[in-house]
C-alpha cells in the first residue's frame, strides 16, 4: 500500500494522490458493504471474510506461537469471535485491523492459559520427578540458533504482555506487519499525531519492562 511514492520519499500529490484516494474510497465502500451483509447474517458474506483473511490470521498466529496445530485451533476461535462480535463492530478501524487485534489477543489468552496449565501440571510433580525432567531437558541436543530464536521470541512475548492490548496491536502492526504511520492512521481511524504519541509511549513502556526483566533475552526468558 505504501507504493513507489513512499519508497522514493516523494510527497503524495496531484494525480497519483487522487487515484490512490479513489482506490481507497472504493475499497472502503466495498468493505463497508461486506460488513453490513455479515451483520445482517449473510453466511456467504461471512464466508467471504473467512476466505479473505484466513491466511493472514494463520500467519500472524504462527509468527507468535510457531506451531501449526495451535494456529488452526486459535484461528477457529478468532473467526468464532468475529462471527459473534461483528454486530458491535463500528467500522472506526478497518476490518483487517480489527481481526488482527482479535488474533493477537487470542494468542495472548492461549499463552496465559498454557502457563496456568503448566503450573498446575508441574505442581503435581514430586521433587524427584521435577529433577528428572530438568535433567532430561538439558540433555536434549538443541540447535543453538533455534534455542536463541525461541528465547528471543519468549522474551518479546513477555515484554509485550506488559503493555495494553491497543499498544500491543499498534506495535505489531508497525514493526511486524511493516505499516507506516499514515497507513496505521487510515486503518485505525486515529490521526497520525495520535498514532505517533501512542507508539512512542508504548515503546517507552517496553523499554521500562525490558529494564525490569533484564535487558537481554537470556536473562528475561529464564523463569
Amino acid at each position: 500500500m505504501s507504493g513507489l511514492a513512499s519508497a522514493l520519499h516523494l510527497p503524495v500529490t496531484g494525480g497519483f494522490a487522487q487515484a490512490k484516494s479513489k482506490l481507497d474510497h472504493r475499497q472502503y465502500n466495498e468493505e463497508s458493504a461486506l460488513i453490513r451483509r455479515v451483520q445482517k447474517g449473510d453466511e456467504l458474506a461471512f464466508r467471504e471474510v473467512v476466505d479473505r483473511y484466513q491466511s493472514k490470521v494463520h500467519s500472524v498466529i504462527y509468527g507468535i506461537l510457531r506451531n501449526r496445530n495451535d494456529a488452526e485451533d486459535i484461528a477457529q476461535q478468532v473467526f468464532t469471535k468475529v462471527y459473534f462480535s461483528i454486530g458491535s463492530f463500528d467500522s472506526r478501524s478497518s476490518l483487517l485491523t480489527w481481526i488482527y487485534k482479535i488474533t493477537v489477543n487470542e494468542c495472548y489468552d492461549y499463552l496465559r492459559k498454557r502457563r496456568v496449565r503448566k503450573l498446575v501440571y508441574e505442581s503435581d510433580f514430586s521433587e524427584e520427578d521435577t529433577l528428572h525432567l530438568t535433567r532430561s531437558e538439558a540433555a536434549v541436543d538443541k540447535h543453538p540458533s533455534v534455542e536463541s530464536d525461541l528465547a528471543r521470541r519468549d522474551y518479546v512475548l513477555k515484554l509485550l504482555s506488559r503493555v495494553s492490548e491497543e499498544d500491543r496491536s499498534l506495535l505489531l502492526l508497525k514493526e511486524v506487519e511493516g505499516h507506516s504511520v499514515e497507513e496505521l492512521a487510515q486503518r485505525t481511524g486515529m490521526n497520525q499525531n495520535t498514532i505517533k504519541v501512542k507508539l512512542f509511549r508504548a515503546r517507552q513502556k517496553l523499554l521500562k519492562a525490558a529494564r525490569r526483566l533484564g535487558d537481554s533475552p537470556r536473562s528475561g526468558a529464564a523463569h
Binding site: 494463520h58 488452526e72 477457529q76 459473534f84 522474551y155 505489531l172
Partner: protein, 155 residues
Amino acid sequence: MHKPVKERLEEYLRGMREGSALADFHSHVGECERCRREVQAMEAQAGLLRVLAAPEEIEPRAGFYGRAMEAIEARRRASVWFAFLDPTIGRRLTFASLGIVLLLGSYLVFVQQEPSFEASSPVTFMAAEPASRLVGADPQQDRELVLVSLASYQE
C-alpha cells in the same frame, strides 16, 4: 526524548535515513547523548519485535471454513439463549412460565378482593343508600343512626 527526535522517530525506525525531514533529527541526535541512547534502544527493540514475523504466509489446511463453522455452531448450541429455541426445553419452560403466571395472577386476584363487611356494621350502614330517612318511620333505623352519630362523633 526531545521534540525534534520524537517527531521523526517513526520515520527513522522505519528505515528512513536521509531527506530534509530528518535534518533536525540527525542534528539533535548528534548533539544530545540522552536522545541518542534512547533512539538506539528503541531501534534495537524494534528489531527484536520483528522476530514475531511469520517466516512465510501460512495457508490453512483444506476445509478450514467448514471446521470454523462447526466451532461456531457448537458455541451457538452451548449458548444459554439457544436453550429457548430447543423444542423440548422450550416447551417445558413455556408451560412452567404459564403456570407461574397463573399462580401469581390467582394470588393477586384473591388478595385484592374487596373485604366483606357485616350488614349491621356502622360502615355498611353509612354507605347504604338512604331509602327514606324520615325520623320515626323506622325505630330500628333511627336507633342505628343515633349510634353511628355517637360513634363517629369527634371533638
